[in-house]
């Protein structure tokens, strides 16, 4: 009896231990990317990263948003084991980027910002060379490459030299190459820079469908706000080598101070009592009365609008026009980084597009 109980206890103890180790593993992998205090100093003087702390949960699409020169690429190069950090350390998929770089390289797909295929080879040959470098067995290789090329819509162009590809086709080829090993995490440095809107959408359609099929974590750098807005589950904002804030798009926008309703009214149609009533509408945060317009700041302008309209209608104020503006990521950027993201991006964008074209040609 005693022995039986002991052995039961032992079994239970064993199960408990197993739970603990499972738990330990899951805490280990709580983050797909876990960077702590990353500092990178180039040539002893230029401080590209200045203490980056960043956590990305597995299975998410994470966008690192920041202007050119903010340290996005440097951070990605550290995370993909190309560069050691000067200070701090980072884990990717539970492996240290310096000590266990080999393990990470077998798990990540990576598309650098610049062109990373050989233009004097065909699309198929590019895939073949990378498949061989990754050690994909020869039996599986041909089908895998053909399937990938099919998947990104390059089957018809696979035997043409990459030199003759458009920018969008090259990007898709690069992404297909990065996906060859079915990576656990995909790093994309400015994946759609220099592409026209149609090509950008095509690239993102492929990425989104791959993500859905494999649950891969996606970490991408961008300075296009709309891209971060549309495709990212979470966003980190980086400026001058520091992560300024992180959160979902909605969280970040909300933190700026909600949406704004502007109602143009007949002059002097709104009295103080009405104003107080508007202030009481659900989700309304603040109200400001101008000469002939009423500005209502709300967490959710669309929900607040009917209530506001009803009160104004009851008070007899005539509303001529309503406009609604939601805060953009640019507003978010302005609030946290103190500068606009948009204005800085444009000019360098043009020169970068030119560079891409020159390299492609």
């Amino acid at each position: 009896m005693e022995g039986l109980r002991l052995s039961l206890g032992g079994a239970a103890g064993g199960a408990h231990l197993k739970n603990i180790s499972c738990h330990a593993f899951s805490t280990l992998m709580e983050f797909a990317v876990d960077a702590r205090g990353i500092v990178k100093v180039y040539e002893k003087t230029s401080r590209a990263l200045d203490g980056v702390d960043l956590q990305v949960r597995p299975g998410k699409v994470f966008a690192l948003l920041g202007p050119n020169g903010s340290g996005k690429t440097t951070l990605m190069r550290i995370l993909t084991t190309q560069l050691p950090p000067t200070e701090g350390h980072a884990d990717v998929m539970g492996h240290d980027t310096v000590r266990e770089s080999g393990a990470i390289r077998g798990l990540v797909g990576y598309v650098p910002q610049e062109m990373s295929v050989w233009t004097d080879l065909s699309g198929y040959e590019n895939m073949l060379i990378y498949a061989k470098i990754y050690g994909i067995p020869s039996e599986a290789r041909r089908r895998l490459i053909d399937d990938s090329l099919e998947g990104i819509g390059l089957s018809d162009a696979k035997d043409r030299l990459v030199r003759s590809y458009s920018g969008g086709m090259i990007r898709r080829l690069e992404i297909a190459t990065a996906l060859l090993i079915s990576p656990k995490i995909l790093f994309l440095d400015e994946p759609t820079i220099g592409l026209d809107p149609v090509a950008r959408k095509a690239v993102w359609d492929k990425l989104t469908s791959f993500k859905k099929d494999f649950g891969t974590t996606v970490f991408f750098n961008t300075h296009y706000m709309d891209e971060a807005d549309l495709y990212a589950d979470e966003i980190g904002i980086i400026s001058r080598g520091r992560i300024i804030t992180t959160g979902t798009v909605a969280e970040l926008k909300r933190s700026v101070g909600g949406e704004v309703l502007v109602l143009e009214t007949e002059s002097n149609g709104v009295d103080a009592a009405t104003l107080e009533m508007v202030r009481g509408v659900a989700s309304v945060r603040d109200v400001a009365l101008g000469e002939s317009e009423l500005a209502v700041i709300a967490d959710d302008a669309e929900t607040a609008l009917p209530g506001v309209m009803r009160i104004l209608g009851n008070s007899g104020a005539m509303v001529r026009k309503v406009s609604m503006s939601a805060p953009t990521l640019d507003d978010v950027f302005l609030k946290y980084a103190g500068t606009r993201l948009e204005s800085g991006g444009r000019l360098s964008d043009v020169s970068r597009v030119r560079k891409t074209i020159r390299r492609g040609g």
Binding site: R105, Y110, P112, M115, L121, S122, I129, I133, R359
Partner: protein, 253 residues
């Protein structure tokens, strides 16, 4: 990943690139062909250089082959600079291939270009009457020596590329390295003719040993010095691979 396998992939890459575009191989063949067709007969007519009973053009054919090989390999490092400016190098760094195998693999693949180059130059030499050892094994030996030595020069150029930050600077340095090595070797004249300082220099010049190996296999058929030559080439290759791999991280940053 197995570094040998990685090297073979790089060799395959280079072969495929050459298959698609051979222009560079042809244009680079112009200079060595001029050495053979013009410099050789003109200098030979003077009979000023004691070549041990060999026709002068025959004597310099190995030197010209080695010079063209070293140019091809040195400028191969330029590809590396280009790959750094593009994203290819970054991408290669994030594959499981170990870094030194990227350096060694890329270096050895320059041998493919060098061998192709030799296969254009040798027929020209035969056309103008150069007599080579009629033994296919010796001929394969010539190509093997050129292929292997090419790796050492390409590694040298990767080392230079890691120190230079621009392509333009690199072009100048490439010339500035090859020509002195060429003239301080036995490519155009026997070592015995040289003044003592040049003689000393030539004895530590890898090109001397490579030219000697190619000359014994292609022209004289006298293999007495070959083991020494091969040992020197092996030391040159390994040393350059190690130094280039060590300085490779400068290219990355």
């Amino acid at each position: 990943m197995n570094p040998i396998k990685n090297m073979l992939v790089m060799v395959e890459l280079e072969s495929r690139r050459i298959r698609h575009d051979r222009t560079e191989i042809y244009t680079r063949a112009v200079q060595p062909v001029l050495w053979l067709v013009i410099f050789g007969p003109v200098m030979g007519a003077l009979r000023a250089i004691p070549t041990g009973g060999i026709a002068y053009t025959d004597f310099i054919t190995p030197g010209v082959l080695v010079q063209s090989m070293s140019f091809v390999s040195i400028f191969f490092g330029l590809t590396m600079v280009w790959e750094r400016e593009s994203g290819i190098l970054k991408k290669l760094l994030v594959t499981p291939a170990p870094r030194y195998s990227i350096v060694v693999g890329r270096s050895m693949s320059s041998g493919v270009r060098s061998v192709f180059q030799a296969l254009i130059i040798i027929p020209v030499a035969l056309l103008i009457g150069v007599r080579i050892v009629p033994n296919p094994l010796y001929f394969i030996g010539v190509l093997a020596v050129l292929f292997v030595s090419s790796g050492g020069f390409a590694a040298t150029s990767i080392l230079i590329a890691s120190l230079m930050k621009s392509r333009e600077r690199f072009m100048g340095i490439g010339q500035a390295i090859i020509m002195p090595l060429f003239f301080a070797s036995n490519a155009l004249y026997p070592i015995e003719m040289m003044p003592p300082i040049l003689k000393a220099l030539s004895s530590v010049n890898p090109m001397t040993y490579i030219v000697d190996a190619v000359r014994s296999l292609l022209i004289t058929g006298d293999l007495a010095q070959l083991p020494l030559d091969l040992a020197a080439i092996a030391i040159f290759d390994v040393a350059m691979f190690i130094i280039a791999s060590a300085s490779f991280k400068r290219i990355i940053e």
